[in-house]
């Protein structure tokens, strides 16, 4: 009988231990799940931050590249305009030289003494 009682006690103790172990296991599982959830959340946050930083770096690089391209284009445009202006100026001056030369040639052949005398009288009147 005593043996039966001892066995009964042992069985009850084993059952209690099993229940406690089950409870402990359940508790551990919840803790693990909470840790896993936290880890997943942190990982997601890290990934999001990394994506954001990468995106910002990309935007900054694009901005720099655009600014540089615009600067190069503006400089090129200014150089072209400068060259055009210089060419225009040169053409203008050469035209003046040619006009003066042509006028000189024409006057040399056309201006006789009579015309020159008239020119002199006219010039003296104009300068009064």
């Amino acid at each position: 009988m005593k043996q039966v009682d001892e066995r009964q006690d042992a069985i009850e103790a084993a059952a209690k231990a099993a229940i406690a172990a089950q409870a402990s296991a359940a508790e551990s599982k919840e803790e693990v799940e909470a840790l896993m959830a936290k880890a997943r959340s942190e990982a997601a946050e890290i990934v999001d931050t990394a994506k954001l930083e990468a995106s910002q770096m990309l935007t900054s690089s694009e901005e720099k590249a655009r600014t540089t391209a615009e600067k190069i284009a503006a400089e090129a445009k200014a150089n072209v305009e400068k060259s055009i202006e210089a060419a225009k100026r040169e053409l203008h001056d050469e035209t003046l030289e040619l006009i003066a030369l042509a006028t000189e040639k024409v006057i040399h052949t056309k201006l006789d003494k009579k015309a020159d005398a008239a020119l002199i009288v006219s010039a003296l009147k104009d300068s009064k």
């Binding site: 003046l96 006028t103 003494k113 009288v121 003296l124 104009d126 300068s127």
Partner: protein, 131 residues
């Protein structure tokens, strides 16, 4: 002998020339400049004399043209100088310079009129050139 100033010399010579004693004063001036070793100042002294003479109403000048002046144009130049300076008499030296092409350049003490064709062409070339 104290060195006379250029102004004093020019004034004296101008006065003598106005008085009509030109030959004597010219000889005096030449002798003085040689004696005082100041012949290098001759052109400046002549310019000063011309200035004083012009102030006294006797203007002398140089007229530059491409060909010889006609009587009519010479008269027109003299009239122009008289009107511009109030001169009583005008003495002109004529200079023929074909490089002026046409027109006239009148140089009198203190002023100059350049109405030559070559000058007009130079103005055309320089004034209208883009800087």
């Amino acid at each position: 002998m104290a060195k006379l100033s250029r102004r004093a010399i020019a004034t004296y010579v101008a006065e003598q020339l106005t008085a009509g004693d030109s030959k004597k004063v010219v000889l005096q001036l030449a002798a003085y400049l040689v004696d005082t070793r100041r012949t290098k100042e001759l052109s400046l002294i002549i310019r000063d004399i011309q200035f004083y003479l012009s102030e006294a109403g006797a203007v002398s000048g140089v007229v530059t043209t491409a060909s010889e002046l006609t009587a009519e144009t010479k008269k027109a130049v003299e009239k122009y100088i008289k009107e511009q300076t109030g001169a009583k008499t005008v003495a002109l030296d004529s200079l023929i310079d074909p490089s002026v092409i046409g027109g006239v350049k009148v140089s009198i003490p203190g002023r100059e009129l350049d109405a030559t064709v070559s000058r007009s062409l130079t103005v055309l070339k320089t004034r209208f050139k883009k800087a």
